[in-house]
């Protein structure tokens, strides 16, 4: 049992250090430490704008979402690993060739992930908080408690995705039913209590423990994790073979439909393409890749899962967090903050389109890397209907519909600018930014200052949010340079 655990730990380290470089990856926890340390000094200032309770809920929710992400990646199966890492696969799948049960492997996997990500995310954060606390008259009780509560939040997220994936592997309808029930329970409790903070603290129990520690609550929180985990481990199977899936050929009809969209080069006729007609030839290739992307999103089910976990959940959570600032900020100002956050999170849709793609499958075909990137950007553009609808819904619910157009322009400008930075520094591997300290720093330094300045302008008057359109200029030049760069260089990781 111990050998498996040690090998899994080594595997996790090597997976990340292979992708990001040893030093880059090793600097990541130091970066987290630095952010927590400096962030602690800002608490006396931010507490004037945001209630400390809400800050605690936000941080614990963030760790819960991290747990969701970590849990979902590891169990996505050999197929996803092949697409992500080429012919690689994780030890968790080795029950197929070794005399070891899947449950034992899974148990080791959970312990490994808990320890590994505690060392990577929780420990540096809590240490930064701990060391900075005495300088800010914060009782040492809180950072010490955060070691426990952040871990509980992370484990809650991770075990939630384990049980959900086990349910999904047996019945997709059951999964949707569980999600709908959870959402309905949240809404019902909110309507009954009228206090969003109270409901959030109930759903995010570790944050309640942090704010009002009691042993019974600690036991309940641990029990929730066990209740989620035990059925998951019995139902768990890293791969389910559902037999051959057959589909009617959809690529060509989808290609034809997409070619009629006004913003995609239309009227491409294969018969008109000649060797010298490079513009039409390139457009035809890009359109083919776009059609394939939509088929991938639809048939893999990633579109729905990613939409929920990578977009609706985090942005929805931030919306709830910011809604308690209504005493301090005007509704239009809160809405603009949501728009900025929506733009940043929307840019990660590029990650959805690239994370599980095997780009070596393209490299032996006559297509440039820049064409692949351009195709991904076009698909990314079509997917922007998701954040647009999301912002319109929030605007309607919060009574700021008149600001919807401004918010959409602001969000889209930020999204494309963030995309341009990602493409420039990571090409077709934007998930590099996750643990590469240098990449994460560059991304933050390029993105945050202009977004904060533009947000400040939007706070003065909603109409000033249109100034975000200026981001089109750096976005254009970043992308133009990116196309030339990635056509010239070997892609990272290939």
């Amino acid at each position: 049992m111990f050998e498996i655990f040690v090998c899994m730990l080594k595997e996790e380290w090597r997976m990340h250090s292979t992708l990001f470089g040893n030093l880059n990856f090793a600097l990541f926890p130091i970066l987290i430490f630095g952010m927590a340390f400096m962030g602690t000094f800002l608490i006396p200032f931010t507490s004037r704008l945001m209630d400390v309770n809400m800050l605690a809920v936000s941080i614990h929710s963030m760790y819960c979402i991290m747990g969701l992400m970590v849990g979902s990646f590891g169990i996505m199966g050999k197929e996803m690993m092949n697409r992500r890492f080429g012919q690689g696969s994780l030890l968790i799948h080795s029950a197929r060739s070794l005399p070891i049960s899947e449950r034992r492997l899974f148990g080791n996997f959970v312990v490994k992930d808990t320890l590994y990500y505690f060392m990577l995310w929780i420990l540096p954060f809590c240490l930064g908080f701990l060391i900075a606390s005495p300088f800010n008259a914060i009782s040492i009780h809180y950072p010490l408690l955060m070691f426990v509560t952040a871990s509980l939040a992370f484990l809650t997220g991770m075990c939630t995705v384990f049980i959900l994936s086990s349910v999904y592997s047996r019945s997709r309808a059951a999964l949707y039913a569980v999600i709908v029930l959870a959402f309905a329970a949240f809404v019902a409790l909110y309507l009954l209590s009228g206090d969003i903070m109270r409901v959030m603290r109930l759903f995010m129990l570790p944050s309640e423990i942090f704010l009002n520690f009691s042993f019974p609550l600690l036991i309940i929180s641990a029990a929730v994790i066990i209740v989620l985990f035990i059925p998951a481990i019995f139902l768990f199977s890293p791969e389910t073979h559902a037999g051959e899936k057959r589909y009617i050929a959809a690529l060509c009809p989808l290609y034809d439909r997409l070619s009629r969209l006004p913003f995609i080069r239309g009227g491409i006729d294969a018969e008109k393409v000649s060797e010298k007609d490079f513009v039409y030839a390139a457009a035809q290739k890009e359109l083919t890749i776009i059609a394939k992307d939509f088929i991938d999103l639809h048939r893999s089910g990633i579109g729905i899962g990613q939409t929920l976990f990578s977009f609706v959940l985090p942005v929805g959570l931030i919306w709830l967090v910011l809604s308690v600032l209504s005493d301090v900020l005007m509704p239009e100002q809160i809405f603009m903050v949501i728009a900025a956050v929506t733009g940043i999170i929307a840019s990660t849709m590029y990650t959805w389109l690239t994370e599980f793609e095997s780009f070596s499958a393209y490299l032996f075909l006559p297509v440039k890397v820049s064409s692949i990137i351009r195709a991904k950007i076009m698909t990314f553009s079509v997917l922007h209907v998701v954040p647009a609808v999301f912002l319109i819904v929030i605007a309607a619910v919060t009574g700021v519909l008149a600001s919807a157009v401004f918010a959409i322009v602001f969000a889209f400008s930020v999204s494309y600018y963030a995309l341009a930075i990602m493409v420039r520094y990571s090409g077709l591997s934007p998930s590099l930014m996750l643990y590469s300290a240098s990449f994460f720093l560059r991304y933050s330094l390029f993105l945050m200052p202009p977004v904060i300045i533009l947000l400040g302008l939007a706070f003065i008057a909603t109409g000033f949010s249109l100034a975000a359109l200026i981001l089109i200029i750096p976005s254009y030049f970043l992308l133009k340079g990116s196309f030339e760069k990635w056509d010239r260089e070997d892609l990272p990781g290939f």
Binding site: R246, L251, K292, D296, F364
Partner: protein, 246 residues
Amino acid sequence: MRRYGAGYMEPVIEAQGLTKDYGELRAVDGVSFSVPKGAVFGLLGQNGSGKTTIIKMLTGQVKITEGDCSILGVSPKVDPVRVRSLIGIIPEQETPPSFLTSIEYLQFVGRIRGMGDIDEKAEFWFDFLDFADKKDVLCKDLSRGTRQKLMFAQAFLDSPEVAVIDEPLINLDPVMQRKVKDFLKSYTKDGRTVFISTHILENAQEICDSFAVLHRGALLYTGSVAELNEKGRKLDDLFLELVNRA
């Protein structure tokens, strides 16, 4: 380096001093060879000898550290996309996109290559390689053998002048291996060229006209199969002798 016998036409593939470094690791070291038009050429070597890296350099999939090469007069250093548009490639370790069906994948490749009559050509390959019943199956649900057939089909879909194949017979059953061998031998009869890389020497001796032996990134030997057969020598004996001497 041995020269080819009289009667061979001008080379369609040429490599001069090809070198590839991955950091401090020299994967390919100054390899030079040429492949005449109308030949089936075999690049032979053990696992990890650099065969796949050479193929990737020839086809512009990775950047060349030193040296140069060309296929049909086009250098991948100058225009890698053009090189890949002129040839068909079967990579060793590639699987087709998981969520496309077999027919969709051939349509995908056909569209990328700007082909017409894709469906007609695809139908031919489904019948020839005997996997028409898998046309509408997702690629991720295909067996390895069927995936290899699909990769074979995509490489030859447009009847390219030059086909570059990394391990052509991998995962194929004996019946299909026979069919593919016969196909490759007949493919060059009207002047087209096939470049294969393999470590299965019996197959190489059966289908290749000429060959080169690679060992730890360096070229040890080039020669013709006809000369070997005249001397009554087996390719695997020659190979073992060369590798043991190196």
